[in-house]
């Protein structure tokens, strides 16, 4: 992590933050609402705060969001096509 990102994380530190497990529990709901009604309409500040602090949870969230978006749009590749992307 670069020093600016970490200073930003220190700045955004709260006394109470949700855990990775709590984040995991909320992510699927968050992703579907984000893709349905838009990011700005969702009031889940504790989840957002955790995603900003935790790169592992954030990467899982971003992957889930992209996967579900492609699936909703009918553009997700099937298994055999995904296998072909592995060199």
């Amino acid at each position: 992590m670069n020093s600016k990102s970490f200073l930003q994380n220190i700045h955004n530190t709260r006394d109470e933050e949700i855990s990775c497990s709590e984040c995991f529990d909320l992510t699927s709901q968050f992703v579907e609402r984000e893709l349905t009604i838009g990011d700005h309409e969702i009031k889940m500040p504790h989840l957002r705060q955790h995603l900003n602090q935790c790169s592992s949870c954030r990467e899982e969230y971003e992957t889930l969001r992209d996967l579900v978006r492609l699936e909703n749009e009918g553009e997700i590749l099937e298994v055999d096509n995904l296998k072909n992307l592995i060199p």
Partner: protein, 220 residues
Amino acid sequence: MTSPRTNEEWLNDLRASDGTQDAAIGDLRNLLFRAVLFFFSRNLDEFRGLARDEILQLAEDCAQEALIAVMNHTSDFRGDSKFTTWAYKFAINKALMAARHESWKGISLDELSSLSNHTLVEWVLRDKWPVSSSDQSMMQAEVIEVMRDVIEHELTDKQRRVLIMMVFNEVPMDEVVRHLGTNRNAIYKMLHDARRKLKNGLQARGFEVAEMLVLFSISR
């Protein structure tokens, strides 16, 4: 193509005791395998040491682990999303852990968990903070010194090790979890406590982090 099921149908089929369950498990496993391959295909750099067959076998293993996790947690599903969206999380989680482990295997984390005299300075200099005046340069040095003081004297040994590994040496969280034999929640809490101590320590010594960010970002 897997036929779409409602959430209720997924749960009923996965709990059935006849061939219906086998079909549902097969469909679910295929969806989880697809999610794992989706993650792998976006992170191919992490598998540079593996042949194609080994990567595909690792994906199969992740999908199987995810399937077991989903089956063990179906009672936790609250229905606030599609069942498949909820299940994908387990596959992506297993895929990310496997990718990070593959990428970091063979690297000794013991060597990356201690604070050398140069670690902090090198870490700050790596970013090439803009220094347009001697005042800024002096402030940067003071901030480094405060952070070093807090890290050395106010953090617990475990908080210090986690911070040094994850922040200064960019060790992935799941590898720190593996190294310390704990779980993500515990590691996140240690890092959270370390951040709070650093924030309080900087403020107690007259540094507002928000002002530092603004000052240090000038004339980039």
